[in-house]
């Protein structure tokens, strides 16, 4: 039995490898790329420093591209709601590290592109694993591209207790901590299941214009509240519904006016969910090339969201003793800004210097060809309790 299984696996592997070599048209260009990036996020009570390294390798060309990414989130917070009380014994600055590894594989076979990924992310009180597959098809001589993607995520939640580093599973505010289990799934479990599907369509309308449209649907089942917000709720544990269905539609256009070296990129996102929340996000990006190898991007985004059905502006919640749901909002309690109505304005700029010009002028620097350095700054002006936020990043990328 085991020998037969091994033989079948070998045959399948051989067939797969043969498909790579036979099905794709030749010749193809290979481009390996290495990128390092530093992201920065700062608001009144939270700072995030996020170094990231990514490498992609064509093995040997676009018929098989493998990628690996590692990122570190160093999250420093002085907010009680982030668990600083539980972790440090007081409202002191608490720094937490999150490690994330992502592996990707993509195969371009003629007009088809197949992809897959696996992501593992861990921090003190949180563990997340996710995997997904995608399939895309070029149509009408690459004038249309249709893609479908599905991913599944499984997250485990814990709560740090007694500022000793000890932790206990968190199953949601409406589950008694004594009945909360880890290691399985279901109502009294600390497992959040996330099913994500995304369908996207892009259409070349002209040699300088591309239209895109995507629709995403996510189904979440499991604890979705924060275990550390009792302080905001007068001792009541934050309690959200365990099920959430989310839809987002995003149409957009990219239009280049080449004579002026300007590209306009307007798009809009409409978000809806069964917690009664709705969000509108129109955004305009304008790309300019003042000189051939220098790109400047200006951006403005407006964001507005409505409240969840269980949010109470007066903050007067009661300690419900049974399930929080649309039929029983009295059992829900929230101090989560994500469930409140607010709006934000985000202007931003980005500068990208492509190394192709330097590489062409100086033979010794030819290895810089295809590389770039990119600096980004966004300023988020928002009317919620987080206050305004500064978002920056610096990236350096080389093709090899």
């Amino acid at each position: 039995m085991s020998r037969r299984r091994t033989s079948s696996l070998g045959l399948a592997l051989w067939a797969w490898i043969s498909l790579f070599w036979v099905a794709a048209p030749r010749p193809l260009l290979a481009e390996n790329r290495a990128t390092i990036r530093g992201n920065y996020y700062r608001e009144k009570s939270t700072r995030v420093m996020q170094p990231l390294a990514q490498i992609t390798v064509d093995a040997p060309d676009e018929r098989l591209t493998l990628g690996a990414t590692y990122l570190l989130d160093a999250i420093s917070s002085a907010s009680i709601a982030s668990g600083t009380q539980a972790a440090t014994g007081g409202d002191n600055v608490f720094t937490e590290l999150r490690h994330e590894f992502v592996g990707t594989a993509q195969s371009k076979l003629g007009e088809w592109t197949l992809g897959g990924f696996f992501r593992y992310s861990t921090e003190t009180d949180y563990l997340s694993r996710a995997g997904g597959v995608s399939l895309a098809r070029d149509l009408l001589r690459k004038n249309i591209n249709v893609a479908l993607a599905y991913s599944f995520g499984g997250d485990r939640f814990y709560r740090i207790v007694n500022n000793t580093g000890a932790r206990e599973p968190w199953c949601g505010g409406d589950v008694d901590v004594n009945f909360c289990r880890t290691g399985g799934y279901g109502r009294n479990n600390n497992f959040l299941q996330i099913h994500n599907t995304l369908a996207s369509y892009s259409h070349t309308l002209h040699e300088t214009m591309l239209a895109t449209f995507s629709i995403g649907y996510a189904h979440l089942r499991g604890p979705q509240d924060n275990p550390y917000r009792e302080g905001f709720l007068g001792g009541i544990e934050e309690t959200h519904p365990h099920v959430r269905n989310r839809v987002v539609l995003t149409p957009g256009v990219r239009w280049m006016v080449w004579r002026e070296r300007i590209t306009f990129e307007p798009f809009y996102s409409l978000y809806l969910d069964d917690w009664g929340q709705r969000a509108h996000t129109p955004e305009l990006r304008v790309h300019v090339r003042p000189v051939r190898f220098l790109r400047l991007r200006a951006r403005y985004q407006y964001y507005k969201q409505t409240a969840a059905f269980f949010f109470r502006a007066d903050g007067q919640y009661v300690d419900g003793d049974s399930r929080c749901s649309r039929d029983a909002p009295i059992n829900c309690a929230t101090a989560d800004v994500k469930a409140m109505p607010w709006e934000a304005h985000t202007p931003g700029v980005q500068l990208t210097w492509e190394f192709d010009g330097v590489a062409a002028r100086n033979p010794r620097l030819r290895w810089l060809e295809g590389g770039f350095v990119e600096v980004t700054y966004n300023h988020m002006i928002q009317d919620n309790r987080f206050g305004n936020a500064r978002i920056g990043s610096l990236a350096f990328s080389l093709a090899y």
Partner: protein, 72 residues
């Protein structure tokens, strides 16, 4: 109301007419530039998606779900 409907039909016809235009491979010079390629922003999108997962109701079309947070 009629005017709005006519405008909507006009937009659909314009897009439909444009969609009949086939852009050949040798005409893709501009489309292949980074500012015309949605994949150019992929790493930036990952970072923004993480911020949104921790701070917003909306997922803004990046995929959504997951991601630990220093959520205040």
């Amino acid at each position: 109301m009629h005017r709005r409907r006519a405008a909507a039909i006009g937009v659909v016809i314009m897009l439909g007419a444009a969609s009949c235009v086939l852009v050949e491979p040798h005409q893709r010079k501009y489309l292949s530039m980074p500012e015309m390629n949605p994949a150019t922003d992929s790493l930036e999108d990952v970072f923004h998606a993480h911020i949104e997962a921790a701070r917003r109701a909306s997922t803004n079309g990046h995929g959504g779900g997951g991601g630990g947070c220093g959520c205040g």
